[in-house]
Amino acid sequence: MGKYRKIIYNVIQETSAYRLNHLISFLCVAIPLLAIIFLWRTVYQSIPSIKGYNEAMMITYYILSTWLGDLTGVVLWWEITSDIRDGNLSNYLLRPLSYQLYFFSTRLGANIPYSLIGAGITIIFIIFLAPDFYIPSNPLTIPLFLISLLLAMLLALQFTYLFSLSAFWLEESSSVNLFVDIFIPLMAGNLLPLDLFPTFISRLFKALPFNYLLYFPIDIYLERLPFSSIFRGFLVEMVWIAFLQLLIAVVWRRGIRRYTAVGG
């Protein structure tokens, strides 16, 4: 395990040079967030509640989704796709190292400073919008929320890894990219709480694993779920995680046979 700790450490060191970039890119998402908050404020002037969300809950939903968006977001990780296409993967295959855990470590290393900055900015938002921010009343909510967050991060890493491995087969990934960048956030609840979609779509999205990335943790935080549903959610999510791990193993084993280690 020491090796993966060292990788996280190296990445933090390497990316600390880009702290300002983090700050700026976070500001880039914070400004649209402000616009969304003002929009919902206007909406709530005429309605007290939408599908069980009052004004505070709705605003909290968007603040949390902005902060978590990166921590539990799925992306097509360019380092994996370029490692595969440019033959850099060889460097990892040569050493007694799991490429998946290597990737998880670098992702964590890159995410730790980023999410700390994100948390800082989130707190600033909360302070300025304090009356609107939802504070859970049950003391168990926060621990459950944190567990759901950890599971969501794991799930996000798995999806990111799995989609990025498509580079073994695809010369060019714009179709995968479209799915990952547009449809996953939609199904995860980044754009709208899933309950706001038409019933049929909302049911469908809640049956898919992507809702565990964002919608489910925020639902827990907002105390909209009874404990029984939370535990059932955890169980289903863990089954997904196990299933994805199997899928990853199969995809990796087939992909690596196609890998041609170009260059050198």
């Binding site: 090796k3 060191q13 033959g87 060889s90 040569l94 050493r95 890998y259 260059g263």
Partner: protein
């Protein structure tokens, strides 16, 4: 130590179709081209041997090394390195080998080389005392002790190559694959790396397989060479045998008392001439006759007989192989 039997590698490359219709068509029937990079390669390398693996561009050298180090699956055939099947990539196997590519790097670009070394210490689970002892030995042999804390991106090509070598040797591999480790380096750095490798192989009994297009590397380091051409081994033996097999000639340099006679060309292939000196290329078995004839007919100051420089022999071998393919011979 290394056993290769009837190894084949066929690369399949898919042709890219233009435009949307093309990519839709490609979904159902993709056009491809097969490249036979290795066509039944077999050889054996013993423990502690330093073997040169040479051949013209595209012969399949890198492909072989990639298969033997486990990063590439062969199409068919068998290979055993240290008793392991390389492409299974067992941790026990990976801990005992290393593969250095002149054109690929494993070091973290933005961090000092030392950080990459420390990561390898963890990855290979090298005990601290061994790690620091190896680091000290390697960095002093390569004279880079002062550069360990400099970010890798600030190092020169030669310095970086030395760091790559260190990174690959810290775990004391028993088998080392080197793919053009001196490419792009100046003559001084080339020699430093050469000397280092020679010493390292002697002292640690590491089995080394080296490819290089610099004949000097091969000449200085390898007792035995394997010559690969278009995916097939066409020669196996010492460099001496290689030159003897492919070039039956010697070089005769004659210094005359007066100017070089005009009939000199009738004694052999004239390679160069100036005022009083000429160099002839003559068949090995005719050297004595030619020398005697010259001594009898002219007043000769000096005659020197030499082997043809290996560099020239190898160039000629590659050239003639190329020509055969093109049907010119």
């Amino acid at each position: 130590m290394i056993e290769v039997r009837n190894l084949w590698k066929i690369y399949r490359t898919y042709e890219k179709e233009e435009g949307l219709i093309g990519s839709l068509k490609a979904l159902f029937k993709r056009k491809y081209r097969d490249v036979e990079a290795l066509k039944g390669v077999s050889f054996t390398i013993e423990e502690g041997e330093f073997v040169g693996y040479i051949g013209p561009n595209g012969a399949g050298k890198t492909t072989t090394l990639k298969i033997l180090s486990g990063i590439l699956y062969p199409t068919k055939g068998e290979a055993k390195v240290l008793g392991f099947i390389p492409w299974e990539r067992k941790a026990e196997f990976l801990k005992q080998i290393s593969f250095v590519m002149g054109q690929k790097h494993q070091l973290w670009w933005d961090l000092p080389a030392l950080e990459s070394f420390l990561l390898n210490k963890e990855i290979y689970e090298i005990p601290s005392h061994l790690f620091y002892a190896n680091l000290e030995e390697l960095s002093s042999l390569l004279a880079v002790e002062d550069l360990l804390k400099v970010p890798v991106r600030n190092l020169s090509l030669g310095e970086r190559m030395k760091m790559e070598l260190i990174a690959s040797l810290l775990h004391s591999p028993r088998v080392l694959f080197l793919d053009e480790p001196t490419i792009g380096l100046d003559v001084v750095a080339q020699k430093e790396i050469r000397d280092f490798l020679k010493r390292f192989n002697k002292e640690h009994k590491t089995t080394i397989m080296l490819t290089s297009h610099y004949v000097r590397d091969i000449e200085a380091l390898c007792e035995r060479v394997l010559v690969l051409h278009r995916g097939e081994i066409i020669f196996e033996g010492s460099i001496k045998e290689l030159t003897r097999r492919y070039s039956d000639d010697k070089l005769l340099t004659i210094t005359f008392e007066e100017r070089v006679p005009d009939e000199i060309e009738s004694y052999g292939r004239l390679l160069s001439r100036d005022e009083g000196k000429a160099t002839l290329r003559v068949g090995r078995d005719k050297v004595a006759d030619v020398a005697r004839a010259l001594l009898e007919s002219y007043s000769v100051k000096d005659i020197v007989v030499e082997e043809i420089p290996i560099e020239d022999v190898i160039r000629e071998i590659f050239l003639s192989l190329g020509r055969e393919e093109d049907g010119e011979i």
